[in-house]
Symmetry: C2
Subunit: 191 residues, 2 copies
């Protein structure tokens, strides 16, 4: 069996264990993809019909504000699941960008196919809903941080959530995630 599929199984079971049978229903539709550092593998207003598992590397989701700056929404690291298709897609088009911050390896599955599997299989439906909830909770958690913590406390929180990430990716991406300038980030780091 392709070893990346085994990787996907581990990722799924880490989030919400499913039976071997349920996994087999998913497995046969999995495909492998890889992108070079710097590539936007999902782009705003472009069609995209996949769910993704992060096998290797780091990526960010982001949007561009009126001033033209890339504002990081979230980071995704090795052995995790990308934001579900349903919430990053409106009218068949992506509502945000996803950029590879290092070389990345992904497993993908057609989103319509996965939706069908969710409908016909209770375990897969539960798994999908857990992913959705985790993504949402993470958003609410970040929102609360942005609304009620100082920049320094947000940085500390970022370090707890994404251990090791601070030295692997451009600080500009972290600064916009924290809602500060990269100069301010550098100042906070010195402490």
């Amino acid at each position: 069996m392709d070893s990346f599929k085994n990787n996907v199984k581990n990722i799924i079971n880490e989030v919400c264990p499913i039976s071997e049978l349920a996994f087999e229903a998913i497995e046969k539709y999995l495909e492998f993809e890889s992108y070079a550092k710097g590539a936007d593998f999902i782009s705003l207003n472009k069609e995209n019909d996949k769910e993704y598992f992060m096998l290797k590397g780091i990526c960010k989701s982001y949007l561009i504000n009126p001033e033209g700056d890339e504002i990081t929404i979230s980071f995704y690291v090795e052995n995790s699941i990308l934001s579900p298709h349903s919430i990053r897609t409106s009218n068949m088009k992506a509502n945000q960008y996803f950029k590879a911050l290092t070389n990345v390896e992904l497993a993908s599955i057609n989103a319509s196919k996965f939706e069908a599997l969710m409908i016909e299989n209770l375990e897969i439906r539960n798994f999908g809903n857990v992913v959705l909830q985790k993504e949402l909770l993470s958003k609410v958690d970040k929102e609360i941080g942005l609304a009620s913590l100082s920049a320094k406390d947000r940085l500390l929180k970022f370090r707890r959530k994404y251990k090791m990430l601070e030295n692997l990716i451009p600080h500009g991406a972290i600064a916009s995630y924290l809602g500060i300038t990269n100069v301010s980030l550098s100042r906070l780091r010195k402490e």
Copy 2:
């Protein structure tokens, strides 16, 4: 027919039109609820198994930060749909509070029942997914604002999104939504 059910039909069709037949499947499970100003009708870590339509009044979703302050996550106004059950519930328990900021009237439907309707009926499934996406887009939009706009611009954005709300609810709830103190909000308002 109970007139509040007609209200619900209008709210649904405003978001994502469905057929008369699909609405009838929902209609028979609708119930009416009302709460007095100040009531928490959903509480953190308490069980809740309903989807809600806002018929009358204003409410906020919020969390309490370590300092004990209520941090507003979002506002919900008349003729809109509350954040879907699946994203405000983890392990059967609510992951945030919802408080009535005025007297409110709601229509509710059992969430498991609604999930079943989503599975068996394509129109209802589409409707449910549109609600989910709208909620998410609204969150991303707010996140971008918190991360990249000044407090003044966030206030302007709030005014555009929630016309008229500024004079109807306590400013403390608005300030924490904007991520500033109520003193700062008062200062910005003077301009």
